[in-house]
């Protein structure tokens, strides 16, 4: 360089500010404890939400950050579910090791899939992931000797968590367990997206053509994040199997892949909390709306989706961020 930059603390301050914990974040995680006190009858629902949020977070890592679309992400969720369920059925009901093994199996299959995924984009990617999802669903359906087919996997018996906490009917253990796993994976994801690797992923999302021109190995990055994402999806699936002590074919269904995509877009992709917020809105709304009008559930979902895409292209979180910026601009 001919011109030497003066040593400046400003760039560091700017980057530091991006990774600092926001007060709202802390408030959010404290609020996640409220169901234990205020909505004790809803702990089972809360646990479903935490699991689905984890699943949405896994999709956010590839879609929201690296811009890799998937219409078949339930494949990894389902793999995790069946792995954890089968382990327990075959006699190993210890939850934590089951969770780790399920994550490893999903991650391994995710890595194999990523060898194909990393070569495609856009429409081709939608078709490939859709195909993989349908393939696995059909395979699980035909292999009923292993999976129980359409009847689901019966006889999943979980041992108590840490050898002490039984999975009770009220969902106390289920929600505690799911929430802790969600929080830990969230912490790791938060580190990841603020790291150089996370920055590279955003580079791939923003401009895949420029990445090789700055010497970045995009394919290697995509394989890595896809493997991680699949392992997280598998973890979510395993949590569902363990906390409900059953696995139905639905874990691999197209519906589940589509639902999680809807939640993420609803909440705001590429924002880490988007998938979590989307899962909360979606599942709470479904719980409330289907209570009095079950057959119309997807009617409301349809309206909600169209409204969000039209008026909040960056999801609910994007809309909130915009409001906050507008407010700041006005008061400044």
């Amino acid at each position: 360089m001919t011109v030497l930059a003066p040593a400046s603390a400003e760039p560091h301050r700017y980057l530091q500010a991006q990774i600092r914990w926001h007060g709202l974040e802390i408030a959010f995680w404290i609020a996640a404890l409220l169901p234990f006190l205020l909505f004790k009858t809803y702990l089972v629902l809360a646990s479903q939400i935490a699991i689905t949020a984890l699943f949405a977070l896994s999709l956010d890592l590839i879609l929201g950050y690296a811009g890799i679309v998937s219409l078949g992400h339930a494949a990894f969720f389902g793999l995790g579910s069946y792995t954890a369920g089968l382990l327990a059925k075959l006699g190993w009901g210890e939850p934590l090791t089951g969770l780790v093994i399920a994550a490893a199996v999903a991650g391994l299959v995710g890595y194999a899939a990523s060898l194909v995924i990393a070569r495609f984009r856009h429409l081709a990617l939608i078709m490939i992931t859709l195909g993989m999802g349908l393939l696995l669903h059909e395979a699980a359906n035909s292999a009923s000797w292993l999976t129980g087919g359409a009847d689901g996997l019966q006889g999943v018996r979980m041992w108590p968590l840490l050898g002490y906490f039984r999975f009770d009917l009220y969902g106390v253990t289920a929600y505690t367990y799911s929430l802790i796993v969600l929080f830990l994976v969230f912490l790791a994801s938060r580190r990841l997206i603020h790291s150089p690797f996370g920055l590279s992923l955003r580079g791939i999302r923003e401009n895949p053509v420029r990445m090789p021109a700055i010497g970045a190995p995009s394919s290697a990055h995509i394989r890595k994040i896809y493997t991680i994402s699949a392992a997280v999806a598998g973890t979510a699936g395993a949590l569902l199997a363990q906390t409900t002590q059953t696995v139905s074919l639905e874990v691999l269904s197209f519906q589940r892949s589509a639902d999680v995509l809807v939640m993420l877009i609803l909440g705001g992709a590429g924002r880490l909390y988007g998938g979590i917020l989307g899962a909360i809105i979606y599942l709470v709304a479904r719980d409330q709306l289907s209570g009095f009008n079950p057959q119309y559930w997807y009617f409301w979902i349809g309206i909600m989706l169209i409204a969000v895409v039209m008026f909040l292209p960056n999801g609910v979180l994007g809309g909130l961020a915009w409001l906050r910026a507008a407010w700041r601009g006005k008061t400044a």
Partner: protein, 262 residues
């Protein structure tokens, strides 16, 4: 191939970048035919020619974004014909784009830090936050500062003025520490007054970087290039010093003459 340790002495005569018999067609359209090209170490060369002559295609071929139908490409003495684009960048062959090819929702600082981190081998590191990579961040800021983007580097790329985006194109390339820099119309779309400024920045680049730039404004070409290569219809028509090119009747006919029509 010469042993690595001797490269410094031996390659004084070897061009920084060269091609042999490079061919490429799109269907029946021949966009490169038998291109013999050599860019000496530390050169400041201009590549000119009418629109559609195949200038961008030549850069695409040399940087590996397109595969040639025939021919070989050398970086120094090393053949790079079959290397992937990012591998060529790692070896010092870097380009910019005629049409802004940036990261719209990254701030300028983030974008350049991304390129610096990739070069330093941090691209896959996922456990520590960016602030932990102080040297990479300082380096990125230094590059932006040297290109007069120091005060604007916290803005999202898409919010930068067009001329600043053109500078960011160059900043991204510099972040990879190129030895050979191919600039595809760096001043494309920039008003005349500003484009001279932009070329001042380019001519201020370290002398060991060999530069080839594509540019339509002949005043700028004559001012900043030590030699000029004229391409027409996928072939090199003529190569020479600015005064040779200015005096060449063929060039007047196919290129300078056309300028007033375009």
């Amino acid at each position: 191939m010469a042993p690595r340790g001797m490269a410094g002495q031996d390659s004084v005569s070897a061009p920084a970048l060269s091609t042999r018999g490079l061919d490429k067609s799109f269907g029946s359209l021949v966009v490169a035919s038998g291109i013999e090209f050599a860019l000496p170490q530390g050169a400041r060369y201009a590549l000119v020619g009418p629109n559609g002559a195949g200038k961008t295609t030549l850069i695409n071929l040399m940087t590996g974004m397109l595969r040639p139908d025939a021919g070989r490409i050398f970086l120094g003495e090393q053949e790079i014909t079959s290397l992937r684009p990012e591998e060529r960048v790692k070896r010092g062959l870097v380009r910019t784009f005629q049409i802004n090819t940036l990261f719209p929702h990254l701030s300028a600082l983030e974008a350049v830090t991304l390129a610096v981190c990739e070069r330093r081998g941090h691209g896959g590191a996922w456990w520590k936050g960016l602030p932990a990579y102080r040297e990479a961040v300082d380096e990125a800021y230094g590059i932006l500062f040297s290109l007069m983007l120091g005060d604007y580097c916290y803005r999202l790329t898409r919010e930068l003025a067009y001329g600043q985006q053109r500078l960011l194109e160059i900043a991204l390339a510099l972040a990879t520490k190129p030895t050979v820099l191919l600039l595809d119309e760096p001043a494309a779309g920039v008003p005349n007054e500003e484009s001279a400024e932009l070329f001042d920045a380019i001519s201020g680049l370290a002398q060991h970087i060999s530069v080839l730039f594509i540019e339509h404004d002949m005043d700028i070409v004559f001012r900043f290039a030590s030699r000029i290569i004229v391409m027409v219809g996928g072939s090199v028509l003529v190569e020479g010093t600015p005064s040779e090119i200015a005096a060449d009747p063929r060039v007047r006919e196919v290129y300078l003459g056309k300028k007033h029509h375009g």
